[in-house]
């Protein structure tokens, strides 16, 4: 049976180093299978997160050969044969241990977002076409790979000022919900710092759910912010009629 060499980060918040393990390769094997083999045979305390092993829960995120990926969907036979495979934790979040990072910041950002608010007296009907647009955003499995790759967080560490692609997707799902009546433009501008995104589309490239994060979520939301805060007609309208939707 063929073998692969894995170089896995072992360490904690104080630092660490890559350790090398040999793993037999079976047909159709994914990187998470290889990590489980290492746990069962070489390093029972190897820390990693996983739940469904089916690409549905978004738990097993890591950086494989330098690219943010779900390890449960990364086939061993799709990686260069004969070369060691490096597996390190997501860089945008603090390491807890081995491949496990502290992603609690994401949950804090999420709390800032006002929930779905149906318009008063709304009839609970809408077309599939209207649903489709939002269902794309609702596919998000919160793997946080988009947050990991986003340079605003990864390179510049602006976690305090910026919400990150995941939460623009969440806000887009609320703002474009056919029955929602809330306005989250101020939140996007001031709390989530959407202006910091310069649409390099790195997030879209790594999304395992193939959500068009930049084109379908971020750009339309940026337009909303512009309309709300910089459009002279809106400004005049607001002066005369008051602010729309509270």
């Amino acid at each position: 049976m063929a073998e692969a060499t894995l170089r896995i980060f072992r360490g904690d918040s104080q630092g660490g180093a890559q350790a090398e393990y040999r793993v037999p390769v079976a047909p159709g094997m994914v990187v998470l299978d290889a990590l489980h083999y290492v746990q069962a045979h070489h390093a029972p305390d190897l820390a990693l997160r996983w739940n469904c092993k089916a690409g549905k829960c978004g738990s097993c995120s890591a950086e494989v050969n330098g690219r943010p990926r779900l390890t449960c969907k990364t086939r061993m036979d799709a990686l260069p044969a004969g070369e060691p495979i490096t597996i390190v934790p997501m860089k945008s979040f603090p390491v807890i241990r081995d491949l496990v990072t502290d992603v609690s910041w994401n949950y804090k950002v999420n709390r800032k977002i006002p929930p779905f608010q149906p318009r008063p007296g709304v009839e609970w009907k809408y077309s599939q076409e209207d649903a489709d647009r939002v269902q794309e955003f609702r596919k998000c499995i919160e793997c946080f790979l988009c947050q990991d790759v986003c340079h605003v967080l990864r390179e510049h560490g602006k976690h305090e000022a910026f919400g990150g692609p995941r939460f623009f997707v969440r806000v887009a799902g609320l703002e474009m919900h056919p029955l929602d009546g809330a306005n989250r433009a101020r939140l996007l501008k001031e709390e989530l710092g959407i202006g910091l995104c310069n649409i390099t589309k790195c997030c879209t490239e790594v999304c395992p759910e193939e959500i068009h994060i930049t084109d379908n979520a971020i750009i339309p939301l940026k337009e909303r912010v512009v309309d709300e805060f910089y459009d002279p007609l809106v400004k005049i309208g607001r002066a005369i009629f008051g602010k729309r939707d509270g």
């Binding site: 079976a26 029972p44 609970w124 269902q135 919160e142």
Partner: protein, 572 residues
């Protein structure tokens, strides 16, 4: 004495953050209770995210002839009449309101032409009944509940595992847990505790269940003295992936058959004609699972030991829209394009019909202060669960458990827990670190999975079950010698060592119950007792701890009131 532990006090402590736990927490919060939710994973990762096909509820958006009575009858018939009839009635009556509520909290279901919630056909359901979002209904449900609950303001303790329930006299009054991250212990004091921890699928080798499914909640309740019920009824879903090896067991949603997928054997025969000519591929799961298993055993299986499931006669765009995650799953993990050719599928351990015995109205267990809902609880599904009835179960009985727990907490005194009990629980959880060279937890887990797969699977015999009990005894003594390496900092080997105890307890309950029930009914198939026995149809098996011994007894099922008898008798 207990000062040495990080301590939190709640009116209601919910263990588990899947659909049932989150719905319970939301309801208890609405009652004004102070609510804490403890979960083993990050919030939003619970097994509910894997639910694909839909939520069964007689909304009548697609089939106007549907009503709660028909849903009730389908559920009872699917469960081979062993269901708790009151639970089946409440479930059928309340499910539509629970779905509408999700929509009001922001869930986006697929729509009909008229703009209402779309419903699809599923096995054992007379009408098109499953409200769905493509094939990712569970994700939509958990995200909706999670965001709604967080906004309402429950405290969530993520990546925190409960090691033991703590009591004050007969009453459950809290729990000792450990933070997975740091390995430190945390004490929860609570007036009421709701268990919503799901099932036990990880005790089998071929399973659709995630790592969390280790029977913790059932074992916690059992150790505390609560009764378990119907433990012999383990559902094997007919269609899991069979190839490649790494994905064996991964779920292939019943929605494939609901959308028109057909099953064939190696010879190209639509074999369901032999097993259920009327319902064909949409027969109940127990029937389809046995059919596939039998085809394979008799030499008509596919190359990798399964059956072919084919949806490629439908337009490719339709398949991609209605079954997107199946399309990607097969393309990425098995190099199969399901719009162009068949999938290979076989049975996979999927769901536990049995669990903690509860009262229908309140979800209260046999212990004061302890409630249970969802897969961890027994009763609704009887001997076999219909697809789609799980998500509705989580909502209906999650809500009822949260409501009853909050009401119980209102009149309950503040809990007092003896520090000696807490310290004993802590010592027990740390034991694996005290042992030197011992058993490897991963090896032991694998051995348990192989044992349950081979001896307590779809078809059972007296000899196999006896052998299984003997082997389980050996595993239990090996488990007492499990040792772990490394520190308490996020150490999966240690976590597994503790979960193994739960799995072994529940595996024993399953095996002993399966041995006692000398008939075949629903998901429980005895080769040596192949017929359904009317006398057994009026009895549940209860499991309870007495000292260190596991005891079993029969209990007569409650008689149906005449108006429900009437519904069951009607043909439709």
């Amino acid at each position: 004495m207990t000062d040495k532990f990080e301590t939190h006090e709640h009116d209601v402590l919910v263990i588990g953050a899947g659909g049932a736990g989150l719905r319970a927490a939301i309801e208890a919060l609405g009652q004004g209770a102070r609510v804490g939710v403890v979960c083993k994973s990050l919030l939003g990762k619970a097994h509910t995210v894997m639910a694909e096909g839909g939520i069964a509820a007689a909304m009548c958006n697609v089939d106007a002839a549907d009503d709660w009575r028909t849903h009730f009858r389908d559920t009872m018939r699917g469960g081979k009449l062993l269901n708790n009839w009151r639970m089946a009635q409440l479930h059928a009556q309340e499910a539509p309101d629970r779905v509408r509520e999700l929509e009001r909290w922001g869930a986006l279901f697929d729509r009909t032409q008229e703009g209402q919630i779309l419903q699809r056909a599923f096995g054992g359901h007379t009408f098109k009944r499953l409200c769905h979002v493509g094939d990712r209904t569970g994700l939509e449900m958990i995200r909706t509940l999670q965001d709604h609950g967080v906004q309402m303001g429950f405290d969530v303790y993520m990546e925190c595992t409960v090691a033991r329930l703590l009591k004050e006299g007969a009453r459950v009054a809290g729990a000792l847990a450990y933070w997975r991250e740091q390995g430190r212990f945390v004490l929860f004091k609570a007036k009421a505790v709701v268990i919503a921890t799901g099932g036990i699928g990880k005790a089998w080798r071929v399973t659709s269940n995630s790592w969390e499914y280790t029977g913790d909640g059932m074992a916690l309740a059992y150790e505390a003295g609560a009764e378990l019920m119907d433990m012999e009824f383990v559902q094997f879903h007919p269609t899991g992936m069979v190839w490649p090896p790494g994905v064996q067991g991964l779920l292939v949603t019943e929605a494939v058959r609901g959308e028109g997928g057909v099953l064939r054997n190696q010879r190209g025969e639509r074999f369901m004609e032999k097993y259920d000519a009327k319902k064909m591929e949409l027969a109940t799961r127990d029937v389809v699972a046995r059919a596939i298993y039998t085809e394979v055993r008799e030499g008509r299986g596919t190359e990798h030991g399964g059956a072919f499931l084919d949806i490629s006669h439908k337009p490719a765009e339709y398949v991609k829209r209605k079954l997107p995650s199946m399309y990607h799953q097969f393309k990425e993990l098995a190099d199969v394009d399901i719009t162009a050719g068949p999938m290979e599928v076989g049975p996979t351990c999927h769901y536990m019909m049995g669990g903690i015995r509860v009262e229908a109205e309140t979800a209260q267990t046999s212990l004061p202060g302890l409630f249970a809902a969802g897969e961890a609880a027994a009763g609704l599904h009887g001997a076999n669960r219909l697809g789609g009835n799980s998500l509705s179960d989580l909502l209906v009985f999650g809500r009822r458990a949260g409501l009853a727990a909050a009401q119980y907490a209102k009149s309950a005194a503040a809990p007092a827990i003896a520090s000696a009990d807490v310290e004993a629980a802590e010592r027990a959880a740390l034991e694996p670190f005290q042992r030197g060279e011992g058993e490897n937890p991963y090896t032991l887990h694998r051995d348990l999975q192989v044992l349950m797969q081979n001896l307590v699977g779809i078809f059972r015999t007296k000899e196999d079950l006896e052998e299984a009990l003997g082997e389980l005894e050996k595993l239990k003594s090996r488990c007492a010698r499990v040792s772990v390496e490394g520190s308490r900092l996020f150490n999966p080997g240690w976590h597994l060592a503790l979960e193994l105890q739960s799995m072994l307890t529940i595996a024993e309950a399953v095996t002993k119950s399966a041995q006692m029930r000398e008939e075949s009914r629903g998901a429980h198939s005895r080769i040596d007792f192949p017929k359904t026995d009317a006398a057994w149809g009026k009895k549940n098996i209860l499991v309870q701890r007495e000292g260190s011994a596991m005891t079993l007894r029969e209990q007569a099922t409650a008689a149906l009131p005449p108006e429900l008898e009437q519904i069951l008798a009607e043909e439709k």
